[in-house]
Amino acid sequence: MDAINGLMHGFGVILTLQNLYLCLLGSLIGTLVGVLPGVGPMAALALLLPVTFTLQPVGGMVMLASIFYGAMYGGSTTSILLNIPGEAASVVTCLDGHKLARQGRAGAALGIAALGSFFAGTLGVIIMTFFAPAIAALAIRFGPPENFGLMVLGLVCTLYMITGSPVKGVLMIALGFLCAAIGLDVVNGRERFTFGSVDLSAGIELLAVVIGLFGVSEVLSNVETMAKSTLVSDKIRGLWPTLDDWRQSWKPMLRGSGLGFVLGLVPGGGPVTASFMSYALERRVSDTPERFGEGAIEGVAGPESANNAAVAGSLIPVLSLGIPGNPVTALLLGALVIHGIQPGPLFVTQRPDLFWGIVASMYVGNVFLLLLNLPLVGLWAQLLRIPYRVLFPVVLLLSVIGTYSANKNVFDLWVMLGFGIAGYVLRKLEYDLAPFVIAFVLAPMLEQSMRQSLAMSADGAMIFFQRPGTALLLAASAVLVALMFRRKRKTEGGMP
């Protein structure tokens, strides 16, 4: 067994005091930047890149990789506690995670998030160990038409996410598309809806939008009623997930892991898309979709597993082919180059020490992260005992710095404030904000993949039916839409 030998070799490489220390340090930093809003794995990796110059390549890469997956563990913390996503892949965790926290069940949500992350992360590495080269060769063929099929499927899943008025839900999806169009057209570089403004030409920053819509609007709602209530109900019920939580969570974790892994693999995918898609999927398959958005533990378990699995998935094309699928893996690739290592298809055979070292370190790192995060669950949950009147200025300060650090542009603060006010008003009018954010994330990829597909096709839209993968994904989308109408007719027919 090549894989077993390789893995043994890898453990041999990383089981030194220094490499274990770097793995632990990376896990710690990853957790920290995950917890802190705004500073995501991208920013942390860019900041710490110079530090790794002085290290051996193995140690440096082990540390950088552990920051990447460590951030996926920490990211859910502020989403659950404060409704401010720690990084973009944890945005959906706000929806149900924070509701759970308000019901006094922050511990359960945090615990499930940590365990789901561990489960998915480990599962991802196991698959990576045995199938990396084969999977990579397959994933690379995933082109614009297949991406288009995937995005259509994602959009259809978003339709299922609408709660309350369907008209308002559809409106929010369209608004998400429109906001995503602001800036440079990804296909031809032309300015759209920028009205001559340089700030707008960079597009609207996702983090500014979500911190505004979720974090700031939450603060506004809370200070309005501050006289009457505190953040959480007085009693914090249980610091740990119950047996019941477990029963509800293991399937979403499994589904989230599979979905996240696949989405991490394909070019253009990654943890952010994975978490959104997993949430939509869980809602679709649930027998009680109305619980979603009101504190469903599955809404935490699925996405938090998905984003970790996506990290493992996205490392496969980088390490085995030298092809980065998203910005963070592009940065890891850059780090390899700076260390004087040529990434590419020959990487695995030329530098087995590095490849297997990184793989082995991911087993170790995930254990570190679980041990690190589980004890923190109790501590974080206690944080909610701090009276909100003391907490909210700090929340605002973190929102500001988190938004600012994404691009170091003050304009983003205005975007955050604008979306904060909009979110506050729209929530009062019973508009659903989640479909907006998902549409905002999916829109650029949907548009780009569709236009790329048509540009590369000699006979127009036929390309979507000539490629079996695309045809399959589009057929699945069509079935889902048909099912939705049937279900709707049923419920309408059932009414007197």
């Binding site: 110079p50 063929r141 070019p267 030298g322 910005p327 592009a330 590419g344 298809p345 542009n409 790329q452």
Partner: protein, 337 residues
């Protein structure tokens, strides 16, 4: 691996003699130029493209070496967005001209200034202080599929005989696109242009069989070349590349002299930076560029050094000549009035 070892040894041999002689001198000279009150805090190197890309790696390697030769602290900061437009605009209009902001940019800035800045700023608002390196656009094909083994000429002929069948990856509104424009105009060919946001994504698509031709820089496809997945077809530079001697230039392959599309990387400061600070920063960058380790690192990435720009005395003049040449192209093709 062997290949890079030779390149490294070669580069070291080339660079070692002058640098060793100057090693002590440059440091002393740099100290002489150092203004009294500068720098008192870290100097920020602004890179306008995302961390991890070719430009970012270039900037970080430079920062590392400038720190080494000058002893000053350097922070690399990525200001990204709008395909570089945001960072360029920041440097030209918002950054304080106090010497604490240095831009590590490429000549793509000229296109932004001429075509997209709408007179809010001009390329003269950023003053070059040191040349870094050059990287030429290379056409690559796959070693599988219907076009394997074809030369540039044969591929262009195919695109003429059977228009809209050859798929080529481009980055719209930039040199990736302009070279295709030139070829289509000169030969009456018609490619299917598949738009991507960067050269790297196009190479991924080539390997996945989703396009037939990709365009990129040597460092972007070197791994795939060694693995035999891609074949270099032609380079859009005036001369053949040292490390790919068998690959013709696009000019040779197609007969002409206009197929030259090169990334020129250099360091700038915002206009109005104090003369003494500017001179010091310029000297620091130039001293760093004499460091044999840095040169070896850059060579490994497949870049080359344009002899017209390596001499600080004539750098500015020749850079301006290149900028003018680009402007003329825009005027000729009606992009700029």
């Amino acid at each position: 691996m062997k290949f890079s070892a030779i390149a490294l040894a070669l580069a070291a041999a080339l660079a070692a003699t002058p640098a060793a002689a100057q090693g002590g001198d440059t440091k002393a000279e740099l100290a002489k130029l150092k203004p009294k009150d500068f720098p008192t805090e870290p100097i920020e190197f602004t890179v306008v493209y995302p961390a991890g890309g070719g430009m970012d790696v270039t900037g970080r390697l430079l920062a590392k070496t400038v720190e080494k030769v000058s002893g000053d602290r350097i922070i690399v900061n990525n200001r990204t967005g709008g395909a570089g437009m945001v960072g360029h605009t920041y440097l030209a209009t918002q950054a304080k001209p106090d010497g604490y902001t240095v831009g590590v940019i490429a000549n793509l800035m000229w296109g932004d200034a001429m075509l997209r800045a709408q007179n809010r700023w001009a390329y003269t608002d950023l003053e070059p202080i040191g040349y870094i390196n050059s990287d030429a656009l290379i056409w690559i094909g796959s070693t599988e599929g219907p076009y394997k083994g074809m030369s540039v000429k044969q591929i262009v002929q195919t695109a003429k005989d059977k228009p809209n069948t050859v798929r080529i990856a481009t980055v719209p509104g930039s040199m990736w696109d302009y070279i295709v424009d030139q070829i289509e105009a000169n030969f009456g060919a018609k490619f299917l242009r598949v738009p991507f946001q960067g050269g790297g994504a196009g190479i991924t698509a080539l390997i996945g069989g989703n396009v037939d031709i990709a365009q990129g820089f040597y460092s972007e496809f070197r791994g795939h070349l060694e693995a035999g997945k891609v074949a270099p077809l032609g380079v859009a530079a005036p001369d053949r590349m040292d490390f790919l001697k068998d690959m013709p230039t696009m000019n040779e392959a197609l007969g002409g002299n206009e197929y030259q599309w090169i990334i020129i990387r250099f360091a700038v400061v915002p206009k109005g930076t104090q003369a003494d600070r500017k001179a010091y920063l310029g000297a620091a960058v130039q001293a760093a560029m004499k460091d044999p380790e840095l040169i070896a690192e850059y060579k490994k990435a497949g870049v080359y050094f344009d002899s017209k720009l390596t001499n600080p005395a004539t750098m500015l003049q020749n850079l301006n000549a290149y900028a003018t040449r680009e402007k003329e192209f825009y005027q000729k093709t009606g992009r700029l009035k």
